[in-house]
Amino acid sequence: MSEESAKRLAIIATHGTLDMAYPPFILSTAAVAMDMEAAIFFTFFGLEILKKGRIDKLKVSPVANPAMPMKIPNIIAMLPGMTPLATTMMNSWMRKAKVPKLSELLATAQEMGVRLIGCQMTMDVMGVKKEDLIDGIEIGGAATFLEFASQNAVTLSF
C-alpha cells in the first residue's frame, strides 16, 4: 500500500430511489473492508433513504431511464402503475443475483462503522424531524461532510 493511497471514501447521496441508493452502500462497505474510513452524506432527496421504514420501499422510475432493461416509451412509462411495476422487476433481478436488500446493506454499513450523516438543511426544508430518521446516524451540514472529505479522501456523488 503506497503512502499516497487515499484513506477515506466520502459519498454524497442525493437521490431517494432504489437504483441510486445501492451504490453508496456497496462502495462504502467495500471501502471499510479495504481498511478505509467511509462516510455517506444524505442530502436533498437522498435523505429519504434514512427515514424509518423507508429503505426497502424505495422505488425506481422507468421515466427518463432508458437504460432500464424493461424497454418502454416514456409516454407509457408515465402511466399509473408503471413505477411500482419497474420497482418489482428491479427487486426481483436483485434477488435473483443474490444482491442483499438495502436494509441489509444499511445494517452492514452501520455495523462496520460507516458514518451516515443526514443533512440538517434538507430536514428543515422538508420538515423532517430527527425522530423520523433511523437510529445511529449523525445529523450535520456541509461542513461536517467536508471536514471528513478534506482529508485524503476519494469523493463520489450519487
Binding site: M1, S5, A30, A33, M34, T108
Partner: protein
C-alpha cells in the same frame, strides 16, 4: 487442487458484490498473522476484487484457482 493448508475456510458461494470482500475482511480480522484463509466464491467479479483487496490492505494472495463454477483464493494474513 492447492496443497496449501488453510487455517480457515470461508465459503462465499452465491454471494454477490460487495459481500465476498466484506466477509473476507471480517474473517481475516479474526485470524492470526501468518495464518491462511481459503476463500471460495462464485462471483466472477471476486477475481479482480480480491486482487485489489490484497493490494490495498497489504495481505498476501498466495494462490488462486478455478474449480468448476467456483473461484478459490488462498490468502495469508501478513498484518
Amino acid at each position: 487442487m492447492s496443497d496449501l493448508k488453510p487455517d480457515l475456510t470461508l465459503d462465499n458461494s452465491g454471494l454477490s458484490c460487495p459481500m465476498p470482500i466484506i466477509k473476507t475482511k471480517k474473517a481475516m480480522d479474526g485470524m492470526k498473522v501468518g495464518e491462511i484463509l481459503k476463500m471460495v466464491a462464485t462471483d466472477p467479479g471476486s477475481v479482480s476484487d480480491i486482487q485489489a483487496w490484497v493490494k490495498k490492505t497489504g495481505q498476501e494472495l498466495l494462490e488462486q484457482e478455478k474449480e468448476g463454477e467456483k473461484f478459490v483464493f488462498y490468502i495469508r494474513k501478513v498484518k
